[in-house]
């Protein structure tokens, strides 16, 4: 047993930390049911009420922006998953080649790059490209999607890379020895093994894009207002009850998704362990 077990310090900090993480979210959810327009003053007579939820769904601007954000996020996640998987594969399986260091720098740097710098540089690139080759004409959904893919593919690459690092190349080598060509090896060995990583990379890229404000603000054009941009302009003017309702819905959706996927993953892991044990038992 670890000697630190007896201390009260760690459990206290842990409790405080989780309270710190969850009190703001819970308070936001609680006040979404408040009747008063003064979000934080509880109107006991007329609450709880769902009126801000119906107001939210009636708000054409928010709903339109949300739909646009979902579409951008889906395209972005798919592009980022493909490119990120390629990068992860290249960096962990292709050995050394000319320019490997540059590729790995270009993959890790976006993870920590301040968003204002990425946003500004992307916008200046699009302006320069438009001058030189006439594409992209103006800015909008396309430029936002390209910018999002560029920064979120790094996250996918890191996830895929660490998944590839967690199992060795012997399976792939065995398939090669049995005469499979690289595309075949990828399709029947590597891809199934890294598929969970690609899937979580896709989800992460989706969230990153869905959530991004700063970079979108730089590369957006007229008529391409994403949901975070709408929320930001509302929130700058102060708290507003329908944003609380929106936040509550988003938290609930995410929480359901995360809990279900955790349960699913745990089941799968248990089943896998059972299968391994059975295989070992029958092997004797």
């Amino acid at each position: 047993m670890s000697p630190m077990r007896r201390s009260f310090f760690v459990p206290t900090v842990l409790a405080f930390g989780f309270a710190f993480l969850y009190v703001p979210i819970l308070s936001m959810m609680f006040f979404s049911l408040n009747n008063s327009k003064l979000v934080t003053v509880w109107d006991a007579a007329n609450s709880p009420t769902l009126k801000w939820y119906s107001e939210l769904f009636a708000n054409r601007q928010i709903m339109g922006a949300a739909w646009l954000s979902i579409r951008i996020a889906a395209v972005n996640a798919t592009g980022a998953a493909i490119l990120g998987t390629l990068v992860g594969l290249v960096l962990s399986r292709f050995g050394s080649f000319k320019g490997r260091t540059l590729l790995s720098v270009m993959t890790t740097a976006p993870l920590v790059m301040p968003e204002v710098i990425t946003g500004l540089s992307m916008l200046l690139l699009f302006v320069a490209l438009e001058q030189v080759i006439g594409w992209p004409s103006g800015r909008g959904v396309t430029t936002i999607t390209i910018a999002h893919i560029t920064f979120s593919m790094s996250y996918v690459a890191v996830i895929v890379q660490s998944r590839l690092a967690s199992f060795d190349e012997s399976l792939e080598e065995a398939a090669m020895d049995l005469g499979a060509r690289p595309p075949r090896v990828f399709r029947s060995i590597t891809l199934p093994l890294i598929f969970p990583a690609i899937l979580s990379g896709w989800l992460l890229a989706f969230t990153l894009s869905w959530d991004d404000l700063v970079i979108s603000q730089f590369v957006a054009g007229p008529g391409s207002t994403t949901l975070p941009m709408v929320i930001f302009s509302k929130v700058r003017l102060g708290v507003s009850p329908d944003v609380n309702a929106l936040a509550t819905i988003m938290v609930l959706v995410v929480a359901t998704g995360v809990v279900f996927s955790a349960i699913f993953m745990q089941r799968r892991e248990k089943q896998r362990q059972r299968e391994v044990q059975m295989a070992l038992a029958s092997g004797d």
């Binding site: 007896r6 003053v41 710098i117």
Partner: protein, 332 residues
């Protein structure tokens, strides 16, 4: 015509049309499929596509920012002077304008914004570490079931909107917000405390938003520790505190560095949190950059601010890159 003759003609054309033709002739459509199937070319394609994408959309933009930072402001579209011009037929005049940089270095507004950003990022990183380390430690020493529940609770807020989580603090911190209301109802204070638009609010916002980035690398590190080392230390008579400072803490330094860099670097350029919660009399550098660009349309100044911020962050970014690639290589 013999193969030799074909080649000879193509070489002759190549002399006129340049290497492009040779390339097309040699690797033209009938050869493509075969070539792609051959190991080397498929490999080159797999490397080439993401490489091209990142070069075009990540590397080239920085060159453009660098270029514009040396230009002068002018009233036109685009609002900056070109860096080079054709002088006569074959000469190019390159004009590097360092005025913007010297302006930034001598103007106290920008200098104080840089220093303030560094201060905010450093303090927030330290607070994140002080809160995140014990949490990561507690999680890594919990039973497997609790460990996965704790980890899920850490990651969950990270999947919900960053903007909305910062927004949640406005409701808590403002003068008629939840914290003030509760404290006044309990009779602890009689006047609301001003918490919005202070350094305190920015620290809270950054620590709150970036805490998972601190905890996860620390957890990954702490989880791998060999606990028998601590038992050995206890057997040799070391008290738990001493064992912690002599064994656990030194072993977790890579985790501390990775977590701190993941918090510090983006925090320096943070835009949303100071805009919503922060002071109005002292801007952070991310806000200055965005104001220069959007409000003043001064692209050269915005670009120079970005380049100077990048130079400031070059060492931390390089350190992060080093640790990240070492971490991934170690696992292979």
């Amino acid at each position: 015509m013999s193969k030799q003759g074909q080649l000879a003609i193509s070489e002759r054309i190549a002399m006129r049309w340049g290497p492009l033709w040779t390339l097309f002739y040699r690797y033209g459509p009938p050869h493509w499929s075969q070539l792609l199937l051959r190991n080397g070319w498929g490999k080159r394609l797999v490397i080439g596509v993401p490489y091209l994408w990142l070069t075009l959309f990540f590397l080239v933009p920085f060159v453009i920012v660098l270029k514009i930072s040396f230009a002068e402001l002018r009233l036109a579209m685009p609002p900056y002077t070109p860096l080079w011009e054709w002088v006569g037929d074959k000469a190019i005049a390159i004009k590097l304008n360092f005025a913007t940089y010297s302006f930034l270095v001598h103007e106290s507004l920008y200098v104080s914004a840089y220093l303030y950003s560094l201060q905010v990022a450093a303090v927030s990183t330290l607070l994140c570490l002080l809160l995140g380390y014990p949490m990561a430690y507690g999680i890594s020493r919990a039973s497997p079931t609790w460990r996965s529940i704790f980890l899920m609770l850490i990651i969950l807020p990270f999947w919900t909107s960053f903007l909305l989580r910062v927004y949640a603090w406005i409701g808590l911190l403002k003068s008629n917000g939840v914290i003030n209301n509760v404290l006044m109802a309990l009779g602890i204070i009689h006047e609301p405390i001003t918490m919005m638009q202070t350094d305190f609010a920015v620290y809270i916002g950054i620590v709150y938003s970036y805490l998972p980035f601190m905890i996860l690398p620390l957890y990954t590190n702490l989880e791998k520790h060999d606990l028998t080392l601590l038992e050995a230390a206890a057997d040799l008579g070391a008290r738990p505190t001493k064992a912690f400072f002599r064994i656990t803490l030194p072993l977790s330094v890579p985790g501390i560095i990775a977590g701190s860099l993941l918090v510090f670097i983006p925090a320096v350029g943070e835009y949303v949190i100071p805009s919503l919660l922060g002071r109005t009399d002292q801007l952070m550098i991310g806000r200055v950059l965005s104001d220069e660009f959007f409000s003043n349309s001064d692209w050269p100044v915005a670009s120079s601010v970005a380049i100077l911020m990048l130079l400031l962050l070059l060492v931390p970014i390089a350190a992060f890159q080093y640790f990240q690639s070492r971490e991934l290589r170690k696992r292979t």
